[in-house]
Subunit: 439 residues, 2 copies
């Protein structure tokens, strides 16, 4: 029996960490009024391939005993949550209220060759706001604000939310007199992988003059934690209405987003997201100490996320790669304080006492305290070890003279009543801890 490469599975303690991450994301998104949506795992291939570029990565389905006229032909597993959401919006436009804000946390599949931090099956958490015909720029601010708060509550060393705006890049290139600004953007987007001289050479190959190419690189080098990027861009001496509009939008965003302590926002004009069809704001996110992973959370504004016969649906959104984020954290020793939800194990001196122990457990559960009864009667030392192996903090001993509960971490044992005793609130759920940290 061998594991399948690219299809990670978690042990219960790791899954408990993932659950606490997903709970935090859901809570943050819902506090901001985002409604949950799930779409089916499959889409017709023509929907999946509409965006282009990623056809090699799709998993097709067929039934084991497919017939000639199989109505399952042409279905594939979704590779992201944006394409299915755009289809969902159009299909349900008559039933949705716009602007519509939704979050979507689901698995996606890509038939790629796996490599570090890349999976064939992984969980994404997306938020998008979609309007009918129009969607004001303040929604871009809101998406950045919500994701900054979401990142702020995660068990990560820190995150840098890098923001740029396609209008700045495209307007600047147009102001420079470049003929094909999209082609330039896709070249400049390779700055992560290629040295500056190589980028310059590629731009010159595209017909840019040396001064133009240099100006493009100078723009991409601008990165500020505040709105001072505006003056730096203006100092490059290029003028275009689209550039001015982009600078306004990005400055508005950087000025408005309020970040939690471990998250910073940067205007970083190297960020272009070259191959995606964004039309304004673009986002990427680096995890502090894990910059080699690339962006763990990306997105931006589409002037046309979807359209039907009557309307276009502009959208702005961002997608967090939950599996991608968790993998280095697990490798670094992140785990849960216990592998089970149980706060209490009710010990059993004799199998005859099972009914009484079950009753004690029911009384604790009725007040929200997760409880299990010992699997079999045994010496108390054995039962304490049973709890220890799972990280269950308390063992309960029933007795005709009054019950007792023992905190097996401290050894402290006190008289207790199952109708009134409560653990410290931090013990109610497994805590996210680092293996290096003593509990």
């Amino acid at each position: 029996m061998s594991r399948l490469s690219g299809f990670p599975e978690y042990l219960p303690a790791e899954r408990a960490v993932e659950q606490s991450v997903l709970d935090h994301l859901r809570s943050t998104f819902e506090l901001h009024g985002f409604a949950s949506v799930e779409t089916r795992a499959v889409e017709p291939m023509d929907v999946l391939l509409r965006k282009g570029e990623i056809d090699k990565e799709v998993y097709l389905l067929r039934r084991l005993h497919a017939e000639e006229t199989d109505d399952h032909a042409g279905l594939g597993l979704h590779f992201d949550l944006t394409v299915p959401f755009a289809r969902y919006v159009v299909e349900n436009a008559g039933e949705l209220d716009f602007p519509f804000r939704r979050y979507q946390v689901q698995k996606v599949w890509r038939g790629e060759r796996p490599q570090q931090g890349r999976f064939r099956e992984f969980t994404q958490a997306d938020i998008d706001i979609v309007g009918r015909d129009t969607l004001p720029a303040h929604f871009d601010v809101e998406i950045a604000q919500v994701m900054a708060e979401a990142l702020g509550g995660l068990p990560i060393p820190g995150a840098v939310l890098q923001v740029s705006n396609r209008k700045i890049l495209e307007g600047f290139y147009l102001g420079l007199g470049v003929a094909d600004p999209t082609a330039v953007m896709q070249v400049v987007d390779k700055l992560d992988k290629l040295p500056g001289e190589r980028i310059t050479a590629l731009l010159v190959e595209q017909g840019l003059g040396a001064a133009q190419a240099e100006a493009c690189l100078a723009l991409a080098a601008i990165c500020t934690p505040d709105t001072s990027f505006v003056a730096q861009v203006q100092a490059l001496g290029v003028d275009h209405p689209m550039l001015a509009e982009g600078l306004d939008e990005l400055a508005g965003l950087v000025a408005a987003v309020r970040t939690p302590p471990n998250v910073t926002v940067q205007a970083d004009l190297r960020i272009a997201r070259g191959l995606d069809y964004y039309t304004g704001t673009v986002f990427e996110t680096r995890l502090v100490g894990h910059e080699h992973l690339g962006s763990v959370c990306s997105g931006g504004r589409y002037e046309q996320l979807a359209r039907d016969n009557r309307s276009t649906y502009p959208g702005v959104g961002i997608s967090l790669g939950v599996s991608r984020l968790l993998t280095p954290l697990f490798a670094g020793g992140l785990t849960a304080s216990r592998s089970v939800p149980s706060v209490v194990l009710v010990a059993l001196a004799d199998e005859e006492d099972r009914a009484a122990a079950t009753d004690t457990a029911a009384r604790l559960r009725a007040r929200g305290i997760a409880t299990e009864v010992a699997p079999s009667a045994a010496k108390f030392g054995k039962q304490i070890r049973h709890a220890e192996r799972r990280g269950i903090p308390f063992v309960w001993f029933g007795s005709a003279d009054g019950d007792q509960v023992k905190d097996i971490r401290s050894g402290e044992q006190v008289t207790a009543d199952a109708d009134t005793w409560s653990p410290d609130h931090r013990d109610l759920r497994p805590q996210v801890i680092s293996k290096e940290t003593p509990q």
Copy 2:
């Protein structure tokens, strides 16, 4: 753009109902110490087909541009959660503590022709307890108890948990002198679909005498809400050690399970789950008023859920068909009180006030009150209608003279402070309601 038959998708209000159902299931399972596990969506075909019988239903995967030596060949989507869990237990046996109790809530896929209540993609919620080498019978009681509590908290008219035990059936048939008890069980299992005379005829075809066939039908007719089934079985005058063991186990279970008000437990000796490899307790569940759906929640005991070179892993579990349960409820008008999580909409008289409104919203969210700010400045009547369409109960009006909040259901408007005001706790989350019921 047409919907895909068999792949249901929910509108936001229906999804809110599904979320509240899944939240209740998770909470119940965790209170009983069940740990969450998720397995990958795909399994090698040899794992999927090990159980036999269902090969026609499996979706196979292939990559769009598959190569000759494709390492994705032979992968299929899982069609249940038991087969992947058995594989997970063996693969991780060294890391798990036994008895291991887990819950698993995931989508599964079956390439069947869709029909009412049957889907190609649907959500199941499974609980299982698995031991190493042994697993005492009290765990069967626990599985029934946990699922009865889970069903008790769902927005359903009622449920009947029907319990039987294979040892009773097999022991009874052996005591009758039947040569192939499994074949008899599979015939009797068709009582749901075929009339009694037809079953008798089929049994006689198998070589049973008329009296034997009649005894088999008499056994299958026994159904009691308490342990009185034991005397009824004994009155049939058949004797076998396996029968006695099964009667003990089932009587113990029926006597021990404590049910919530809308759930009843029945010993129903017609329940056999003929094609599955259960070896003791078996479960089915009928939804009151929706009996035509068949069983919405089924399971039982496997003496050998899985095995490796060193051990066998006996298990007992039950699987709730969440999608199957929700479909008739949605058709009957079940919905949520609102389509968004938001409790409060902060109104906006002027776009200039957005920063102040955003601040008000942040103060409400900091105390767990889901809040959104109006998408654009507009007359208050329009903003109230915006809230009404979504079912948001409160609209907040900022003012230099002191803020006010209006309950748009009652029309009541009061002075309020965003740092102290709280809604009724029932308004904090969308409520599950019936469309027929006035809110």
